[in-house]
Structures are given as C-alpha cells and as structure tokens.
C-alpha cells in the first residue's frame, strides 16, 4: 500500500469518526489538535481551539473561586500537549476533516485542468503572520468579555469567523450558520465575516493547495510543540541529490525541503509525506516515530509515477 492511499484511507476514517462518531457514542474529548468542529451535531470530539477560547474565558470569569474549572482547563491542555507530542502535524495532513475538504478542492481543480497558483515565500510569510493575530485574539478577547469590556457576543471569537464552522456542520445537515445572524450588530458582523471568510477560503483553496493551513492558528500551536513531537519528518542531506521532486510535490510549497540541510519540517509542513513519496533517493527522507523509521523514501515507487493520460 502506498503512503498516498494509506493517508487517504486515514483521512476518510478520521472524517467519519470526527464528524459522526458522537452518534455511536465516540467522544474523543475537547482537546483535539484538528478542526473537529464542535458545531457539528453528533461529532466525535472537539477542536482544541474552542476549548482554548472557552477555558481562558471561563477560567478568568470564575477567578480563583472555581478551582475545579482551572484544573479542568489544565487537564485538557495536558491532553492537547500529549496528543500533539504523539502525532505532530499528522493531525493536519492525515486527520483534520477541514484538511480533507481542502484536498477535495485541489482534486477538483486538478480534474478541471486548472493550474495551481504559486505563492512566493515573501507572501507566504506575510499570510502566515495572520495566524498569530488569530492566536492573539483567541487569548486576549475572552478576558475582555469577562472584564465586561466586550459584549458576550464576542464569546468564541475565532469560531465565529472560522470557515470550518460554516462548512463542516453542513455535512450533518446543519445549515443555520449559512444565514446572517441578525440578533445584534456584533452577531451580524460576525456572521457576515464568516460567510465572507468562508467564500474567500474556498476560492483561495481551489487555486492553491491547502491555502487555509497557512492561516490556521492550530498549526502554529502544534509547531510550537515540535521539539516534544515523537513523529518527525527527517532528512538525511548526504543522500539528497537536490532534484527538487519533493518541493514540486509539496502541498505547502515548503522551500526548505530541497535545501542541503537536515531541518525540513517548517511551520507550514502538514506531514502529508508527498515529498517522501516523490523522492528518488533511497533514505533521503524518512518519517520517524521515536527515531524508528516508519516510512523512508525509495527509488520511485511505481505508484508515484503513475499519470493518467
């Protein structure tokens, strides 16, 4: 089985579990490092971003009085760290349901024969910095609500504009987030932004593989924990002939992947392993779990070469 088909299988299984698992009693908790959207009725687990926003808000609201809630917040934080340390970016490339939806759009583009757009490293850096703005808001807005500086409608600010909140519930038949929320000015603007962000995300992703991952605050959080991560993509520069197959195969156009250096897993990398599969030099790229090689590049696998005329 090729890495590609294995990944696709994992993506679909994860999609089913995370989107519908709740209906058969699967509850994977509130600290999943992927867009397992809590707004999907009957979902199998919750995205940690929601937990993060919620706990910061609740925790501060309760103050010292509600020690139990602080403990709970700490518990989910540790669960998040543990899950991230175990699988790293595999959460993004293999498990995230929103990632799969982005891949569908890439497939559609490819089928239609439309070219993918290239984003220059400078632009990528600029776009990439947006996710830190999101992170900043996630951390700073909930306390402001608690302190009554912002109205409670600012609760879960990231979720309010996250395209996952609009798209993913549709798969469970939940269509309410498609509509404008006219409760008040804040909800109106939030729901309008949600539609605008979703529209532009879908358009952007259609022209560029996984464009949204560049904005994703969760990706940044996972990357911060990289030193703890057991699952790593490692490059052995001695075996790399610099052919650039990896970079051309890369969904995220990681520029470092074909350089003459061992550090290739940059913040954008989503561990999709296309690079590993495209690499013609045996042993140049490998995915390691606690140092143990799970996959290693080989002279072309037949599968990687197959092109349908």
């Amino acid at each position: 089985m090729s890495v590609r088909s294995l990944r696709l299988a994992v993506q679909y299984v994860s999609f089913l579990i995370l989107m519908y698992g709740g209906r058969i009693g699967i509850r994977l908790g509130s600290a999943l490092p992927c867009f397992a959207c809590p707004f999907v009725p009957g979902c199998g687990g919750y995205c940690y971003l929601m937990g993060l926003q919620g706990y910061i808000g609740f925790g501060l609201a309760a103050g010292g009085a509600a020690g139990q809630q602080i403990l709970e917040a700490l518990f989910w934080f540790l669960v998040f760290v543990a899950l991230t340390s175990l699988l790293g970016k595999v959460w993004c490339g293999w498990i995230c349901p929103f990632g799969l939806i982005q891949d569908w759009l890439s497939w559609l583009r490819n089928t239609l024969g439309v070219r993918e757009r290239y984003i220059s490293p400078d632009w990528k850096n600029l776009i990439g910095s947006v996710k830190y703005i999101f992170l900043f808001c996630i951390v700073i807005l909930p306390p402001l609500i608690t302190a009554n500086i912002l109205p409670p409608d600012f609760y879960l600010p990231f979720c309010s504009i996250c395209p996952g909140k609009l798209i993913l519930p549709l798969f469970a038949g939940e269509t309410q987030y498609l509509a404008l929320n006219l409760d008040n000015a804040v909800t109106f603007w939030f729901s309008l932004s949600l539609i605008a962000v979703t529209g532009s995300t879908l358009t952007g992703v259609f022209f560029k593989d996984r464009l949204f991952c560049l904005f994703c605050p969760l990706l940044a959080l996972i990357h911060v924990l990289r030193p703890l991560t057991a699952l790593k993509l490692v490059k052995e520069p001695t075996f790399c002939s610099g052919c650039g197959n990896c970079r051309r195969a890369c969904q995220m156009d990681v520029a470092e992947i074909d350089q003459n250096a061992p550090q290739v897993q940059t913040i954008e990398c989503v561990d999709c392993l296309r690079c590993l599969e495209a690499c013609p030099s045996s042993g140049a790229l490998s995915l390691r779990f606690f140092g143990f090689k799970l996959f290693s590049s080989q002279r072309f696998s037949t599968r990687a070469l197959r092109v349908k005329p």
């Binding site: 583009r109 490819n110 024969g113 439309v114 070219r115 993918e116 593989d209 520069p237 001695t238 075996f239 790399c240 002939s241 610099g242 052919c243 650039g244 197959n245 051309r248 195969a249 969904q251 074909d258 350089q259 003459n260 296309r274 599969e277 495209a278 013609p280 030099s281 045996s282 042993g283 140049a284 002279r299 072309f300 037949t302 990687a304 070469l305 197959r306 092109v307 349908k308 005329p309």
Partner: protein, 419 residues
C-alpha cells in the same frame, strides 16, 4: 570539378568507410559474445543505422536534433516530434577534424562536427541547442568551419535554449521556466499544432514507462546479470526510434532469463558520457575483472532525470514541473551549485554496497575534470575507493588504463601486501 574537390571527396569517402568499419567491428563483437541474447538485436540494429532518416522512418515522427539532453523530452513527444541526441563516440570521426580545432577540444564535439561533413542530412532540419557546457555553446559557431553553407539560415528551425547555471536560485529557476515555455512555442511552431494537456500527459506517461523499463534494466545490471557493454548499447538506442517500442523491448529484454550473477566486484562509473561505438572503458573494466554496477553518465542512467512525479496536472503545471525536473534534477557538472551530485553516488553505493568509484574524464571535458577533484575528496572521506581515468577515443592508452584498472580491482578485492 577541380582536383582539390575530388581529393576532398575521396577523403570524405575514406573517412566514412573507416567510421563504418569501426562501428561494424564493435557491433560484430557485441553479437559474437557468449552472453549475447537475440532480444538485444533490436537495439543493435538501431545502433547500426543512426541517421536522421532512419530515425524518422522508425519513429514515424519528424526529428528535432538535440545537442545535449537538457531539454525536456516530454515536450518534443507531446508535439509529435522525435528528439534525437546528436553524439559521436567514433575515434575516426573525432580524429578526422583534429587539425581544425585546438588540441584539447572535446572529442565528442569533434566527432559531431565530422558527422556533419559526412552526412549533410544531419545539419538540415530543426535543432535545439541548450547552453550547457562551453563546447555545446560554441558548437553552432564551430559548425560554420566545417559546413559554411548555412542551410538552416532561417531561425525558425534553430533554437538556443539558455540554461541558467545555478539551479538552486529561485531567479534562475524562473528564467529556465521562461526558456522552457519558449521551447514549447518553438516546437509548436514546427508542427503548427498546440501542445495541450492531454498530449503532455500522454508524453509524461510515455517517458515514465521508459523510466520504469530503465529501472528494471538497472536492477539487472546491479545484480551483475547483464554486461555493461549491452547496457550501454541499449541506452545508446534510446533516441533512435519510437520510445514506447524501446520501452517494450527493454521490458522484454529484462524478462528474458539471464545467466547467474557475475561475482566480479561492482563499481560505480561516474564522469563524462560514453557514446557508441566508443565502448573502450566498459570493455576494459570487464577485462580487468570488474563490472559496472551503476553509473551517472548522461549517456546512460542519466539519459533523462528519472521519472516525473506530478501533482499539478494542468497544462502550465505540467510544463513547470518538467522544467523544474530537467533543471534541478540534472547533475551535469556545468552547474555552479552542483555539490550534491556526489550524494547521488553516495546514496547508490549505500543502497547497493559498491566498493569503488571509477571516474572517467574525457580529455577536454573540463567541467567533469574540475569536479573530479572535489568528488574524489568526498568519496575518500566516506571510505570509498576511487580511480580517475582521463582518456579520449583512441586505443593507444589501453594497456596503461588496463594496468590501473587491474590494480584497482585487486585493491577492491582486498588483496594486500603480505598477509
């Protein structure tokens, strides 16, 4: 007709006969070997007639002459054209024009220039000339010396493909992409037909199939089950006919039951290309009790830079990926940032456990000569045995080369002073 003209014609005729005899001799020798198989006949028959007309007849496509396989072959195939790498390994051809050129001129270029004199059909027709090494760059100008009649005066049949010599630099890559897009237009202008996505996909899959056939053949050679002289002959026929037929023939050849593995120590052959009928080195290496298990010659395993992995299959995406692959994936020493070429040797040695590397420098091939110094250092640092052989197409240094190869063979077999 002046006496000078008849004299010149006699000279040309005589040289052509000598070239013919040289080729026939090696083809007969290849057929007479013990390990000859009838499946090889297809390739040897193609080598016997490498004229443009024969290639056009066999492939059913119009030939575009390529001076160096730097240009993406897929584009030619997608345009319905047949790329033909012009090369010469003939001693008689190379030594014919010896008086016209400086002593250290590349024998390959000298051979090709003589080829132009001997076969006027070679010159007239479309040419693509990539600017890889200095010899290739100066070729079109040198050609005026042997063939002053500019029969391809119209620029429509000639394209210089400018190769940026730094492949790890984004700006160079963009420039190269522009060149490749230009090449696409040039090829389209030759046929009057647009190269579109379906034709590109078809061409990519044709080349990928060829690559898979080459992989099987490479494995056969690594195991020591096919002689390198036959490997060279098969690769020498790469451009000489329809590529799909070639791939099928190679696959058939690989499925043939070959004799047991050759126990001779395997070496990696690196360096300047080796073209038919100059099989001097492969023959000497075998005579010395060694076998070539793999190589990185652009006439052989690097005939094109391996298969294509394509994610963006749009028309532009395919062209851009092809451009990238033929630029960054090329290990030609004319690149200024080619230090990772040695990694290809190291990873293959690691994989197949070769003991030594023979580095061949064609006299006058300066880029390879220069790189041999840094490569020697890196290989020795990794504990590999290394032998550098500088030679040309002549047979006069055969005993000398053989002595060195035999000593190299004993050092690989671990023969030591006194145990």
């Amino acid at each position: 007709m002046s006496p000078n003209d008849t004299r010149r014609e006699r000279l040309y005729r005589k040289t052509a006969q000598k070239v013919q005899a040289e080729e026939t001799q090696i083809l007969d020798w290849l057929r007479a070997r013990d390990d000859y198989r009838p499946e090889l006949d297809y390739f040897l028959a193609q080598l016997a007639d490498r004229s443009v007309r024969a290639v056009e007849r066999r492939s059913g496509r119009k030939v575009v002459r390529l001076l160096c396989n730097q240009a993406p072959l897929e584009l030619f195939l997608a345009a319905g054209l047949q790329p033909l790498r012009i090369a010469s390994g003939s001693f008689n051809e190379a030594s014919f024009s010896v008086h016209n050129w400086p002593a250290l001129t590349c024998p390959l270029i000298k051979g090709i220039l003589t080829g132009l004199i001997l076969d006027p059909n070679l010159l007239t027709g479309p040419w693509v000339i990539p600017s890889s090494c200095d010899w290739v760059v100066k070729f079109w100008e040198m050609r005026l010396e042997v063939s002053p009649l500019d029969m391809t005066a119209n620029d429509k049949e000639l394209m210089f493909l400018e190769l940026p010599h730094f492949k790890n630099r984004p700006k160079s890559r963009n420039r190269w992409l522009e060149e490749v897009l230009e090449l696409k237009k040039f090829l389209e202008s030759l046929t009057g037909r647009k190269i579109r996505r379906p034709e590109l996909l078809q061409a990519v899959s044709t080349v990928n199939r060829a690559w898979q056939a080459i992989l099987a053949l490479k494995d056969l050679r690594r195991q020591g089950r096919i002689s390198s002289v036959y490997f060279s002959a098969v690769m020498g026929a790469f451009f000489l006919g329809d590529l799909d037929t070639w791939s099928n023939q190679v696959t058939a050849l690989c499925q043939k039951l070959w004799p047991a593995e050759n126990p001779a120590p395997g070496i990696f052959l690196a360096g300047s290309p080796i073209f038919f009928p100059n099989f001097k080195l492969p023959v000497l290496i075998e005579e010395a009790g060694l076998r070539i298990a793999a190589d990185d010659l652009c006439s052989s395993e690097r005939v094109f830079p391996s298969g294509q992995v394509l994610e963006d299959t749009s028309e532009f995406g395919l062209t851009a990926a092809l451009a990238g692959r033929y630029h960054q994936g090329c290990l030609c020493p004319t690149f200024g940032d080619n230090e990772r070429r040695v990694n290809n040797i190291l990873s293959q040695t690691e994989e197949s456990n070769f003991q030594g590397v023979v580095f061949t420098v064609l006299k006058g091939c300066h880029p390879y000569d220069l790189e041999s110094v840094t490569i020697e250092k890196t290989l020795k640092k990794h504990g590999l045995r290394y032998l550098r052989l500088e030679t040309d197409y002549s047979a006069e240094d055969r005993p000398n080369l053989l002595t060195r190869l035999e000593a190299f063979a004993s050092s690989l077999k671990g023969v030591r002073g006194v145990s």
